[in-house]
């Protein structure tokens, strides 16, 4: 459910930028969403359709790119996808450390007309 306020923010940012650029409406927006943010793309899409009504974003196509989370092995440097209930590096067995890969949450671009 916490996608609701986040989607409000997305609509607000995109509508403002559209206005700043002299556009009449947003036709498309591209979001990048890391899996560790916990946001569910389908929920963002569902709320977007509701929240964007009567805003410059109404009817815009939403493309969401999800980024899988990776850990980094402090011993051998390998970047890897973790297995459930484990942080171990698949190559050397050392516990990996968190990285920023998978925490992305930004609007990459919008298309306006």
């Amino acid at each position: 459910m916490h996608e609701f306020p986040i989607t409000e923010q997305i609509v607000k940012i995109c509508s403002k930028r559209c206005g700043d650029e002299g556009g009449s409406g947003v036709t498309k927006l591209k979001l990048v969403c890391g899996e560790r943010t916990g946001y569910v793309p389908e929920s963002v899409q569902m709320y977007f359709d509701i929240i964007s009504v009567d805003t410059p974003c109404e009817g815009a196509a939403v493309e969401i790119e999800t980024v899988r989370s990776k850990m980094r092995c402090p011993a051998c440097g390998k970047l890897f996808y973790r297995k459930p209930l484990s942080f171990e590096c698949p190559d050397c067995g050392t516990d990996g450390e968190p990285t920023e890969i998978g925490k992305e949450f930004y609007i990459e671009y919008i298309e306006v007309e």
């Binding site: 450390e97 609007i107 990459e108």
Partner: protein, 243 residues
């Protein structure tokens, strides 16, 4: 042929969606810190012992003034209980929202008085009981305090890594129950250390009081490390405390 796309323009944004929240959070942190108030964002799942931990830490605080904002989806039971103990507390109800965010706290702070005589205060903000969403939103805290309990099981760092990665202080609560549970402390700590090598972990029990004196001392040390300074208000809302 008429090109229906000819008037479309692509605008590169690269704009972080949480920027506005984070700006307000940074402002709260600076502002409260300048006034000697350490802000503690207390996170944990429902029933982990968040309110019990606040009560026990407050009991053990020696120098700083305790203040509490209780975040709950509904009800003010915890706030009433804290006030009954003489602790200054107020309530935020989110009516469905699963976490607190910086604008909610900013709004609440406008209605609070901070006229304490002590040199420092510690403002505990008890977040909504939830291990997922609260970890994603800064609310202006200096310290993220995570309450994890032995009854939840030792796999929590692996299942909710963000909360453990971001914590500055972890209280492992209800440790008086350890003899009756299969809690694997080594597995728990292995996960915690992989995510957050330097985080302080204190074993606590609301039943016996174990650990809370250490937690109180740790927080008071942080509060007294805040640097007080003249703080200019460049924002429109008025605060009701003295400068």
């Amino acid at each position: 042929m008429h090109d229906i796309y000819r008037d479309r323009k692509r605008i590169e944004m690269e704009e972080n969606i949480l920027d506005e929240n984070d700006r307000i959070a940074e402002h709260i942190k600076d502002h409260m810190g300048a006034h000697g108030v350490l802000v503690v964002n207390e996170m944990g799942s429902p029933g982990a012992g968040k309110t019990t931990s606040i009560k026990n830490i407050v009991k053990n605080m020696k120098k700083a003034k305790p203040l509490v904002i209780e975040g709950d989806i509904e009800s003010d039971i915890d706030t009433i209980a804290l006030k009954g103990l003489g602790i200054e507390a107020c309530q935020i109800n989110t009516y469905g929202a699963c976490h607190l965010d910086a604008p909610m706290i900013d709004h609440q702070l406008d209605h609070m008085h901070f006229d304490f005589d002590e040199e420092r205060a510690i403002l505990f903000i008890e977040n909504i009981g939830n291990l997922v969403c609260p970890a994603e939103f800064s609310i202006g805290e200096h310290v993220k305090m995570l309450i994890s309990t032995v009854t939840e099981g030792s796999d929590k760092p692996y299942k909710y890594p963000l909360a453990f990665e971001k914590a500055d202080l972890i209280l492992l609560t209800k440790v008086d129950l350890l003899p009756y549970l299969d809690f694997d402390e080594e597995f728990f700590m292995k996960g915690v250390r992989a995510l957050n090598p330097n985080v302080k972990v204190i074993k606590c029990s609301g039943k016996t009081g174990e650990g809370y004196a250490e937690a109180a001392a740790w927080l008071e040390e942080k509060a007294f490390a805040l640097e007080l300074h003249e703080h200019h208000h460049d924002h429109e809302h008025a605060h009701e405390h003295e400068h």
